[in-house]
């Protein structure tokens, strides 16, 4: 006779989603700029503006979820390397400073007089942006590792949950930047095309990561196989097949592939790109929701 206790719920699912999204906004735009040798600098700028609001929102949620939120400072003054929550607190704090405050301040110095002392210091901006990007990868990774060092089989029986979370976070980060780039009055078609292509490939990797995770759970047997069955044919099958496979993966992938192939002939309608982005973002949230609740079905 057992009664299942659900302590962690939707609030933390939102937190994991936002944490991954913020981290990915910090590194996807950055790498777009670096690899295009500055051509796609605008994407790094868009990404950097997204970081702080998302991080602040996610931190509010994280603190609100504590039973004793007024004692949050104890997390800050304690550093325990063996605790993922402690690692995450530090990663989030440093990422918020470098990726959320300093990097966008450099970008804003072009427009805001109060920040003019940072104007033209592109070398310093790049260094801070690199640090922010690396911390962003850390933040996106930590949201997956946090769940994977638990004793619940879906989360912790294999090492592949972080791979799914990182791929999903990256996809949502690209989608958010793409969504904003696509809504701007003066569109950069090269940037939009590149982001669509990148996202399509990331989604393909995410699908592989999902397949590997589920295969690994199934072949581990026992409670891990039961956890895989929860997703494939059990309580969360609907959420998995529709929410993850269609909304997060195949739907946006099809829309993006159509957009990429249509772009060769004529400009595809912008609304298709917007739809793909929203699908990725909603799907990314469903991924967190499904793991948060589905993971607690089998203990």
């Amino acid at each position: 006779m057992h009664e299942v206790t659900h302590y962690w719920h939707w609030l933390l699912a939102i937190y994991l989603f936002l944490g991954g999204l913020a981290g990915a906004c910090g590194f996807t735009g950055h790498f777009a700029e670096v690899f295009s040798k500055g051509r796609l600098k605008k994407l790094a700028e868009i990404g950097s503006y997204c970081v702080l609001p998302i991080i602040v929102l996610s931190l509010i949620i994280l603190v609100a979820d504590l039973a004793r939120p007024l004692y949050f400072w104890r997390f800050i003054i304690t550093f325990r390397p063996s605790s993922l929550m402690s690692q995450g607190t530090w990663l989030l704090t440093l990422f918020a400073i470098f990726g959320g405050v300093i990097t966008p301040a450099f970008f804003l110095s072009e427009k805001v007089d109060a920040l003019s002392f940072l104007k033209g210091k592109d070398g310093a901006r790049k260094v801070c942006q690199w640090i922010g990007a690396i911390l962003g990868i850390g933040v996106a990774g930590y949201t997956g590792v946090l769940l994977s060092v638990k004793s619940l089989p879906m989360w912790g029986a294999t090492s592949f949950l972080p791979a799914v979370f990182v791929a999903s976070a990256t996809s949502t980060g690209i989608a958010l930047i793409l969504l904003i780039a696509n809504l701007q009055a003066k569109k950069d078609e090269v940037a939009i095309g590149a982001l669509e292509k990148a996202d399509a490939i990331v989604i393909a990797f995410e699908a592989i990561a999902f397949a590997v995770l589920i295969f690994a759970l199934k072949s581990a047997g026992g409670s891990a196989a039961d956890a895989a069955a929860v997703l494939l044919s059990g309580e969360y099958a609907m959420m998995f097949w529709i929410g993850v496979v269609i909304v997060a993966l195949l739907g946006p992938l099809a829309l993006e592939l159509y957009g990429i192939s249509a772009a060769k002939k004529a400009h595809p309608p912008a609304s298709l790109t917007t739809l793909a982005c929203i699908s990725v973002l909603v799907g990314g949230f469903i991924v967190r929701w499904m793991f948060m609740y589905g993971g607690q079905v089998v203990r």
Binding site: Y7, A67, S86, V149, K150, S159, A191, G193, A194
Partner: protein
């Protein structure tokens, strides 16, 4: 010297005196319950339920068996709950080996509950402290440990009793001596002898449960069937054991994504962009 509680299933009558003694000594109010027409007096561990007896019906080929087990904190040698606690609120008492939550430091994040490999997560949350417990304390009476609302609770091994030369309350009360307490090495020896005796009597599956993956446990079981029958993991591990591998999996994924789509696609955008600029 590390201590241990030994639970011998073959001696247990499921009288649940251990459950009552725990509630009484630790001043824990009754948990809300459902009447199921069964022998359960608690369905699950909780903030005010630090141990319980679980009943398992098993249809063996030769006969029908009714197994009992005490669910409680296992006081791991290498406790996962302490590893994952970001507030540093959980520690292992050096003298006894008991794993203790400092409720003043606990922030109620429930990380420990999900890290624990036993009994669907041993540390349980208390939203508030019940009126009956408050009344008791208001009258000037003491309670073992600290009662802080919004924190996690679990068995404390009656450390206050042990430090004063007594056994944990559940052990003292156990009528058939199914629970015993002493130095860990001594308890393991008692368990060994008992398993040998049970095997002699035809209990082919008699075995000790003291899993290595969590550094051995401060609660040792003598079982008459495989651990899974009782809801115990056959080979539990410290939940953070593969932390480095798991981090690497995430970081390698990030590395692949950086090289394959980003480097390929955005590099191409540079060439494409030169015409457009």
């Amino acid at each position: 010297m590390a201590k241990a509680i030994l639970y011998d299933e073959s001696k247990c009558t499921a009288c649940r005196a251990c459950y009552v003694a725990c509630k009484q000594w630790n001043v824990l109010s009754a948990a809300e319950n459902k009447k199921l027409g069964t022998y359960y007096n608690a369905l699950t561990l909780g903030g005010t339920t630090w141990n319980l007896i679980d009943f398992i019906e098993k249809d063996d080929p030769d006969r029908f068996r009714w197994h009992f087990i005490t669910q409680r904190c296992m006081h791991c040698g290498d406790p996962s709950c302490a590893k994952v606690c970001a507030a540093g609120a959980i520690s292992k008492d050096e003298e006894t080996g008991f794993v203790l939550i400092d409720n003043d430091k606990c922030l109620g994040c429930k990380n420990c509950h999900y890290a624990c490999p036993f009994w669907e997560g041993v540390p349980r949350f208390r939203e508030e402290i019940s009126e009956s417990e408050k009344e008791w304390m208001d009258e000037g009476n003491e309670v073992p440990g600290k009662r802080v609302a919004g924190t996690m609770f679990k068995c404390r091994g009656c450390i206050d009793r042990v430090q004063n030369g007594l056994e944990p309350a559940c052990v003292t009360t156990c009528p058939p001596d199914a629970l015993q307490f002493g130095d860990r090495a001594e308890m393991l020896a008692v368990a060994d002898a008992r398993v040998a005796l049970l095997k002699e009597r035809g209990e082919a599956k008699a075995q000790i449960y003291n899993p290595e993956g969590v550094g051995g446990t401060g609660v040792i079981y003598v079982l008459t069937d495989d651990p899974e029958v009782y809801g115990l993991p056959a080979d539990p591990k410290v939940s953070t054991a593969d932390m480095v591998t798991k981090w690497l999996t995430g970081l390698i994924t990030a590395g692949i994504l950086t090289i394959v789509p980003f480097w390929m696609v955005f590099k191409a955008a540079e060439a494409e962009g030169k015409g457009g600029e």
